[in-house]
Subunit: 316 residues, 2 copies
């Protein structure tokens, strides 16, 4: 059996693991980022952490055949350069040459959201499907598509920005420069904002009790928890949020028709209270819904490991 | 040189032509549809029209090697069946078997918008590019994508519904069942509706003169013509329309990143007064616009011939 070393690069933490060619994560460790403003320092930490991981993992060195790296940014291709990764201050960084020299193995890069999609496709919720789009609801909306075993990064690279399609023309300002993107209505951050705004308008809502009178305590679960207890404000926020999600996701389906949509991020842990009404709406909103069955929206199953598993499959 | 017979099937007219393997339309004729409610009658007309076209075109019969058909509907694959083509009352019609038996040549089907995209890719505005998305602004918004010489119909067929992504959440009702689709703000019909509504609110507008006091005379050019003459209402309609187009098109670019967007339909004939401000807006609305150059939006050049040329290339 062949293995890879895999890096899931974040702004505060470097996840490192060993992944088998069958997509199993057999060893996992992590290193806190010391200085996310200094690209060379971060690359050095990545190289040293990877070498230590290879030493410690108990797998024979000659069976570890490459290093895969999931990067939170725009990449020219699997050999780089990383054109832009704002959270770690990378601008046109040739990560591959640096890491290959320090580690002594071939290095392949992937976008982190793309890596998560590859992970779920091979080892998670996408296992029995030929194509999927993974949509991760977090600070923003990340996404990746895999079809017939291959990543679909758009026709020309740089595609797959599923969070940055219109949803509310001239709506809330998005960090990308646009207004009213899917991301500013469908992300976990958007859900928190909508929950806060609804609480401000409804002093009688249970949400106030749940956040102990401090709106900064509102999380992605607060509205769902309030709704579960029968709170009308919570119910309205949840219904509106699912409405936004259904509009965006069905639009993505109308263009790509993957066999399944895999939902990641903390919000997806709401399970049936999110997925049942969401699927009901998505089904109605897909083109020709009375003639062609719409793909189901399901929960991602690998959690944080999806990205590291996907990175570890980049070179197989 | 090999040739194909190609059919561009519409609800009122059957365009038939002979296309060379190099994508040149060398002969063209058309037959008015006698009964668009009767699938077998229409198929018979198609078969007879094609046989007559092959007789009349002056090309040796043995050099015409297949028949390509662009169908305004949902198709299971190049050999059919046609699942749904509402305008011609087709539901699960096995057009290939019928036509192959009557004509005696292999038959390949394609969606009509996909055929137009193939035509522009090989012989029109897409010639020097490796990938394109063609967006046709008509009654609705049709679209097709071609990358590296191959049609991209979505991962699982039935994709490419570029008109049916969200644009205005809970906006104007769309024929597809959704609300606020790109199509109901970006199509030629949408432009006419917005022009009519603006004229109703602005009795002083030149639009009234141009439509001779009858709002039913408003066409896709009316607002552009009024704007050209300095009419404020016309200018506002045009600016708003271009705003909608830019929002939708940049969203599509963010997902697919084709090398070029080709705009078809009558509205695209506005030329620079549409394309210059549109490109300026699209450029700003694409993700990472300060780092990656956005693809240009250009006018389709083949007009009605795009669909027939694309159909004629389905089997080469």
């Amino acid at each position: 059996m062949k293995y890879s070393a895999a890096i899931d690069l974040g702004g505060t933490n470097i996840g490192i693991g060993i992944v088998s060619e069958e997509g199993e994560l057999v060893f996992k460790t992590s290193v806190p980022v010391e200085d996310n403003k200094n690209p060379e320092a971060l690359l050095t930490q990545m190289a040293e952490g990877t070498k230590k991981c290879i030493e410690d993992c108990g797998i024979e060195k000659e069976n570890i055949v490459f290093v895969g790296v999931g990067v939170p940014g725009l990449i020219e291709g699997p050999k780089g350069p990383v054109i832009l990764a704002a959270n770690i201050n990378w601008h046109n960084v040739d990560a591959v040459s640096f890491l290959e020299e320090k580690i002594g193995l071939p290095v392949y890069l992937g976008n982190d959201a793309d890596c998560a999609a590859i992970g779920e496709y091979h080892s998670g919720s996408g296992k029995q499907f030929k194509s999927l789009i993974m949509i991760t609801l977090g600070t923003g909306i990340g996404g990746g598509a895999v079809a017939n075993g291959k990543l679909f990064p758009g026709f020309n690279g740089f595609g797959g920005e599923y969070g940055h399609i219109p949803l509310v023309h001239n709506g809330v300002q998005c960090a990308c420069g646009r207004k009213g993107c899917f991301e500013v209505y469908g992300s976990a951050n958007a859900l928190k904002r909508e929950t806060r705004e609804a609480a401000e308008q409804h002093p009688e809502s249970l949400i106030w009790e749940m956040c102990e009178g401090d709106l900064d305590n509102i999380g992605g679960r607060t509205a769902f928890d309030a709704a579960d207890q029968g709170d009308e404000t919570g119910k309205a926020v949840v219904e509106q949020y699912i409405d936004y999600l259904a509009d965006g996701i069905s639009g993505i389906i109308n263009m790509f028709r993957p066999e399944v949509i895999v939902l990641g991020g903390g919000v997806s842990n709401q399970g049936a209270s999110l997925l049942d009404p969401l699927n009901e709406k998505v089904e109605k909103l897909c083109v020709a819904s009375d003639t062609i069955t719409a793909p189901k929206v399901v929960k991602a199953t690998l959690g944080n490991s999806a990205g590291i598993i996907g990175a570890g499959l980049l070179g197989f």
